[in-house]
């Protein structure tokens, strides 16, 4: 967390990028006839994008940053297991990412006179917790993935806005073609985001239990996948000694 305070990218990630997307959303939605359901996407969308951005970029690069800083070997030499070190990094990233909602909510309230969406407190709280778990699972899986295959980071970084589409951060995924919805359904944040937005409106379906179950189930699958990747990272770092060179 202390490193994040002095990193310009980390500060931009929770202040500037969420503000840009919130401002864009609210400028586009700022017209007669807009519904409160649509407005909720403008108000919360920027925050969700900021939260996701910090998670995948900042937390996902947990091992990669050690390699850049030349401290990879030390990380593997200490008696603390790798997963415990990464756990701390990812949790720090999640906390940092949550700050993204502060500037976007402030912009909506003070800049656009947009009243914050009415929230059904309990479902919102549970959905937000489920979203955090899903982000945790994705970040925990991406961390070894980015370390093992550097091209994976470039690809995901290039397709960052595509990820916003598939996760439904600023509009419902039900707008997408069927095949895209099927792909989106494989991402845990998609289901949690759906539940978060459902708790801000009385319209549409409210199948919270199904969405929460899908989020948790997929997150578990991602964590299981991550455990194999961590094994591979350990092997590359300790047995073949190739990781620092990769």
């Amino acid at each position: 967390m202390r490193l994040r305070f002095v990193s310009p990218f980390a500060v931009l990630a929770w202040t500037f990028f969420p503000l840009v997307f919130a401002a864009l959303g609210l400028f586009v939605l700022n017209r007669p006839g807009v519904t409160s359901t649509q407005l909720a996407y403008g108000v919360l969308g920027g925050g969700l994008i900021g939260y996701w951005g910090v998670t995948y970029l900042d937390a996902g690069n947990g091992i990669q940053d050690e390699r850049w800083n030349g401290t990879l070997e030390q990380i593997f030499a200490v008696p603390t297991p790798l997963w415990a070190i990464i756990l701390g990094k990812v949790c720090g990233g999640l906390l940092w990412g949550m700050l993204s909602f502060l500037p976007t909510l402030a912009l909506a309230f003070f800049g656009f006179h947009a009243f914050l969406p009415h929230i059904d407190a309990l479902p919102f709280a549970v959905s937000f917790a489920a979203l955090t778990i899903s982000f945790f699972a994705v970040a925990f899986m991406l961390t070894p993935l980015f370390a093992l295959w550097r091209w994976a980071f470039s690809m995901l970084n290039g397709f960052e806005l595509g990820a916003y589409v598939l996760c439904g951060f600023m509009f419902p995924v039900t707008l997408l073609p069927q095949w895209a919805q099927a792909v989106a359904g494989l991402l845990p944040p998609t289901w949690a985001t759906r539940a978060v937005y459902a708790s801000t409106t009385t319209e549409g379906p409210h199948d919270y239990v199904v969405w929460w179950a899908a989020t948790i189930g997929l997150s578990v699958v991602y964590l299981v996948g991550a455990s194999f990747l961590y094994e591979l990272v350990q092997r590359k770092a300790r047995v073949s000694g190739e990781l620092a060179l990769a």
């Binding site: 990218f9 931009l12 864009l24 959303g25 586009v28 996407y41 470039s154 690809m155 595509g162």
Partner: protein
């Protein structure tokens, strides 16, 4: 005459070296990620959001705006990175120690990225035609091409200005991120500039892209050169002002960074 030929030679060599050494997307992975996936992702995101917010009838407004804004990917990120990468690779002191003409060195940083910007927009427009059925039958295609060229030049002009900051700033690529995303709000890419508050409208017309995108939208609707000449002239003036300021800043920061030993700070 011989002097001009020699300087042209330096310019050509410098441009070539920019491409082989500093064009950061000259790998298969880099190109696919940032020149194929990024345009697809950006266009899909903003078109789907536009459809959700304003209805299916406005899809092309968002698609065309974002396809044109992608020039900034090359013009801003690419040009700023040419200085930032010199620092990262440790070649900045050598560059600044060379006797090469500074104006030539400065301008050669943008050429590859202008060409890249053109290619990016062509790819993006092709995507818009295929995915969203952009109808270019009524469009004034030669004029649209001129608009794209002008936009590529002016965004590179602004890239040169902020690239100069890379002489004294370690994380100048942060500036590229800020500028690129501000363009999405301020330049009439996703909603008309008239929706911005008055002060922001003033800033908007002081930026590259704003007039160029407006001209390109009119060209796509079939307008003639006479109709958009004012917009294009304004766009070129804005780009030239930024490039000129960039050159002045480049010289100032060159001296400043040499004095403070900032060229090797990383």
């Amino acid at each position: 005459m011989r002097r001009v030929a020699l300087e042209a030679q330096v310019f050509a060599r410098s441009t070539w070296l920019q491409y082989v050494a500093l064009f950061q997307w000259a790998t298969v992975t880099g190109y696919i990620a940032y020149k194929v996936l990024l345009p697809i992702g950006q266009i899909l995101f903003f078109v789907e959001f536009g459809v959700f917010a304003t209805g299916r009838q406005n899809a092309l407004y968002f698609a065309l705006g974002n396809a044109l804004q992608l020039t900034a990917n090359a013009g801003i990120y690419g040009v700023i990175a040419t200085v930032a990468n010199e620092r990262q690779y440790g070649t900045l002191p050598i560059l600044l120690g060379s006797p090469a003409n500074r104006l030539i060195t400065f301008l050669s940083r943008s050429i590859v990225n202008v060409i890249d910007g053109l290619v990016t927009v062509i790819v993006a427009l092709a995507l818009v035609v295929v995915l969203f059925g952009l109808d270019l039958q009524r469009a004034n295609l030669p004029l649209l091409a001129i608009c794209v060229l002008v936009i590529s030049l002016t965004t590179a002009g602004m890239g040169l200005l902020f690239g100069s900051v890379g002489l004294v700033m370690r994380d100048s690529i942060v500036v590229a991120n800020v500028v690129y995303y501000l363009f999405l709000i301020l330049c009439g890419i996703n909603f008309p500039v008239s929706r911005l508050p008055g002060a922001l409208q003033l800033i908007s017309y002081g930026l590259p892209l704003t007039r160029g995108v407006e001209a390109a939208r009119q060209a796509a609707a079939g307008a003639s050169l006479i109709h958009v000449s004012g917009l294009l002239a304004g766009e070129l003036i804005v780009g030239a002002v930024y490039a000129s300021c960039g050159y002045v800043l480049f010289r100032l920061f060159e001296t400043y960074s040499r004095r403070g030993g900032l060229q090797e700070a990383y």
